[in-house]
């Protein structure tokens, strides 16, 4: 009885719509007219739509970049914040703060930051004698720009890493030090294996999150220039609510779900090789 709200919520707002969506993906449903069954037509069209491939490519590029930043740079940042630094509390707060500011405000702020002439990014680059690119207006720089922007909000992952770092027994480091292991070897042979479940967790979370990115592209670039930032969800949104191809959009949604499912399973499989469970230290 207590679990009723959660279970009902799942059935009504997730499982039900999921199944309905699967049905819709076999229909032609231009919203103003009733749906008609078209079999595999949407699914076949999916594979022949160049923009699907383009958006998958763009999204993968963005995901690889932002996952790498979150997992690798986030890890290094956590190592840094785990040192005995001065003003520890205040400094950590500053790194975490941007991760609570999300959505449209961040997108607006960063479109201004990336302004080629008046923006902060190119100003800072100029200090180092670098002539910054056109960022959001340049096909080749728009995704790197979005990746850089995602780095600003990696605080959540860093918090998780830090918690994990505090759980690594000091005695392991001391033993390694006695054996003559330097800081880098201690990190490689102790910290990373001990933290592998957490690295894995951040990795999966970050993949799922970045494949669903939407706001940046919708607000900052509208998918441009020349569809070079047409993130998958943005294209899905357009199919559903600009072109009103609800059936096609449903097929797209399911394709994304399947892609993520396969990715997650692959990651789980691979992780068995290198993630060290607490049970087998």
């Amino acid at each position: 009885m207590f679990i009723a709200p959660g279970v009902l919520g799942f059935l009504l707002f997730i499982l039900g719509p999921m199944l309905y969506s699967l049905v819709m993906s076999f229909e032609n449903y231009p919203i103003i007219h009733p749906a008609t069954w078209v079999g595999l037509k949407n699914w076949r069209a999916l594979f022949h739509d160049p923009l699907i491939w383009k958006s998958l490519k763009v999204t993968t590029y963005f995901a690889v970049g932002s996952v790498t930043v979150t997992v690798v740079v986030g890890f290094l940042l956590a190592l840094l914040l785990n040192q005995k630094i001065l003003f520890k509390r205040a400094i950590r707060t500053i790194y975490f703060l941007p991760s609570v500011i999300t959505g449209v405000p961040v997108a607006l702020l960063w479109s201004w930051m990336f302004s080629p002439q008046f923006g902060l990014i190119n100003t800072v680059l100029k200090w180092f004698g670098i002539q910054g690119p056109q960022w959001l207006f340049d096909e080749h720089w728009v995704i790197p720009a979005l990746i850089l922007m995602s780095a600003w909000s990696m605080g959540g992952a860093v918090i998780i890493y830090l918690a994990g770092l505090q759980g690594v027994p000091e005695s392991l480091y001391e033993a390694a030090e006695l054996d003559g292991a330097g800081a880098i070897r201690r990190t490689w042979y102790i910290t990373i294996p001990m933290l592998s479940p957490i690295i894995f967790f951040n990795f999966v979370l970050s993949i799922i999150g970045s494949f669903q990115a939407f706001t940046q592209a919708y607000i900052m670039t509208s998918g441009g220039p020349n569809n070079s930032s047409l993130l998958y969800v943005l294209y899905l949104y357009r199919n559903a609510f600009s072109y009103f191809q609800l059936g096609y959009a449903s097929a797209m949604g399911w394709l994304l779900f399947l892609v993520l499912l396969v990715l997650t399973l692959v990651v789980f499989r691979v992780s068995r090789k290198w993630v060290i469970d607490e049970a087998t230290p």
């Binding site: 207590f2 679990i3 009723a4 709200p5 959660g6 279970v7 009902l8 919520g9 799942f10 707002f13 997730i14 499982l15 719509p17 999921m18 309905y20 840094l80 040192q83 005995k84 630094i85 003003f87 400094i91 950590r92 707060t93 500053i94 975490f96 703060l97 941007p98 609570v100 500011i101 999300t102 959505g103 449209v104 405000p105 607006l108 702020l109 960063w110 201004w112 002439q117 008046f118 923006g119 902060l120 600003w152 918090i159 505090q166 759980g167 000091e170 005695s171 001391e174 957490i198 669903q212 919708y218 607000i219 969800v233 899905l236 559903a240 609800l246 949604g253 399911w254 994304l256 779900f257």
Partner: protein
Amino acid sequence: MTTVVDKSAPVAPPRQRLNKHREWTASRVVVSIVAIVGAVAFLLPLWFMFRTSVMSLNDAFYVPIRWIPNRWIWSNYSEAVKFVSLGHYYVNSVIVATLVTIGAVVSSSITAYGFSMLRAPGRDGLFLMVITGLMIPAVVTMVPTYVIYRQIGWLNTWLPLTVPSWFGGGAFSIFLLRQFYRTIPRELREAALVDGANEFRIYRQIIVPLALPGHAAVAIFAFLWSWNDLFGPLIYLNSQSKQTLPIALAAFVNTQSVTQWQWMMAATLLAMLPCVVVFLAAQKYFIRGIVLSGLKG
């Protein structure tokens, strides 16, 4: 903050500091400087936003950029508020976010109690099922829910934004609270049962008070999520009178020939403010929430 992180660490052994860090002083300073430089870099965007918000547009378009405004124009804020009638959207966002937050806390609290304390056949299977909700991209359910809401006449009302949160508050909230409940010793509940308390009394008088930090964390996440949600209002609402803040902000991009960056940054800052305040005020709950959901995931 650090203490909170410490507490949630699995087994924190007493650390023996072998006089080691006195020798470390030089490297400690170097590491601190690196951390501080990074922190300044993380703060720069916020300063850049703030200084733009109190500049004239000419000033903002000055090259090389000015770090301090020539003239401080505080009226940018009232202009920005007027420009997109921000106040109205602000009120809408507050109402929606409040309803979502209350709904998520109440319903996820009850659901998580069921999943962690009560024994029933198939309980863990159901839990696993609900948790898979975490894996399902919101966009998959977006199209069908749109069609359903359209059929039952919910479009252009706040119901699609708020009602779902009253049904469990999402897999993440349930998962998070269940993690909190599991840290409460079972004996407490059993003792209360022996004393003749019923489930509702146990839940209300023992479990909820002990898991208040967990509820705070769920409230913070629900609030932040709802406050920043763009997709929901974008799809389900079309009349200006019902729209929420993210849509009003998006209007800055679309409606002008020359972007009024100074107003846009002022409005952006106003929109961020509640999130920043919530974070600074309740940082430890926020962090503990993230940690608990992450560590045993």
